[in-house]
Amino acid sequence: MSGKNDMHQNTDQNAGDGGNINSYRRQFMASVVGISGVAAVATIAPGIILQQAQAKPADETVTNKVRWGLLIDINKLNDGGDACVEACKKEHGWGDEKLSNKEQDAQWIRKVKVTEKMTGHVTNLPVMCQHCDTAPCVDVCPTGASMKRADGIVLVNKHICIGCRYCMMACPYKARSFVHETLIDQRPHSPRGKGVVEACNMCVHRVDAGQKPACVEAAPEAILFGDLNDKESDISKALKQFGGTQIRADLGLNTGVRYWGI
């Protein structure tokens, strides 16, 4: 638990500085400290409670009792999300398309740079599929390939995708890519191929196995992953206490990915 103490110290150091970013940091760290306290108790007392909350038995169908989500504190991403992008590439094997040009390259997650015109303030944030509750990509798909799983993860069922790319047009976050070339040597847990659309699948193979998504593991101090429907989960508590921003909240898509610091 030395990490916990470090965070305490940081919080104290930053306390006098004022400013928006510091207050964000303070809130986030306070919540992390608070939560890790709770987590420790939960782990010690009934044994494996925390594990069980995450994993489902392999032969059980997913239900809508759970809704998976991410909370990304961009002020804690010193690299603006580079590590997350790299982790995602490695996990799913994209980003190495030999014949595609820049416009055609796959992008499951990318770093977006936002500059405020008046102040010149630059913000970098990683953007992946936002796993919308009312997903436009699912609405427009003519074959039902673009789908939302009961637990809120939005996926492309590549078996029935005809590659029309209507969902790419519909997605307000530019989250989807189309594979333009024949691929070989895919990762066994992440099938991907020419002629179909793909996007961040919230590392569904890991989630089903009770693990966290690869990008979360690459930036554990900045990203929380958990069940938005479970009031007791770390992510729900953090969101309840401090809120979280949706990108383009005006669209009313009730995204599963929320941000701090934008």
């Binding site: 169908t61 069922n157 040597d185 002629g195 196995a209």
Partner: protein
Amino acid sequence: MFSKFLSVTSSLLLLVFLVGVSGCGNESPQIESKITKALKKFDTEEQNTAHKAEMRKYHMDHLKHKRDLTMYGGIRTAEDSLKGCIDCHVPAPEGDKVVRHTDPEHFCTTCHAYASVQIDCFQCHADHPDKPESATATANNASMDKNLGIVADDSTSKTSTEVTAQ
């Protein structure tokens, strides 16, 4: 009209199917001998025979059924997992030697080429196991295999030896 079309199509299908099955059955030792041996083996000979008989005829039905369970329900058991088939029937890459579905010695290709049936699975799915060092889920598979009565065969496989050790 339509039913006639159906019956013609289905008898054609049946024909292709029978050719396919007999092509890879005991009747055809030339093909049998070319098929790559599986890495793991069953506890008993009966299990082995039953597995062969079932899979030779119905592997595509098993895979298609499981595909929907996995896509929509997130069910990722070892049973009928395509990744499981590949892990056992196709050797992991060793150095530069990678067996892909475009190679005649690939387990699936041996029969599919003989029966002239195109395989679409590997347009997207991996046609061989990950390189040993990047295979993270192997331990998981091993524990699931136990439930299916599959044990690692140490004499034929380096990969599965590692699995049992974990």
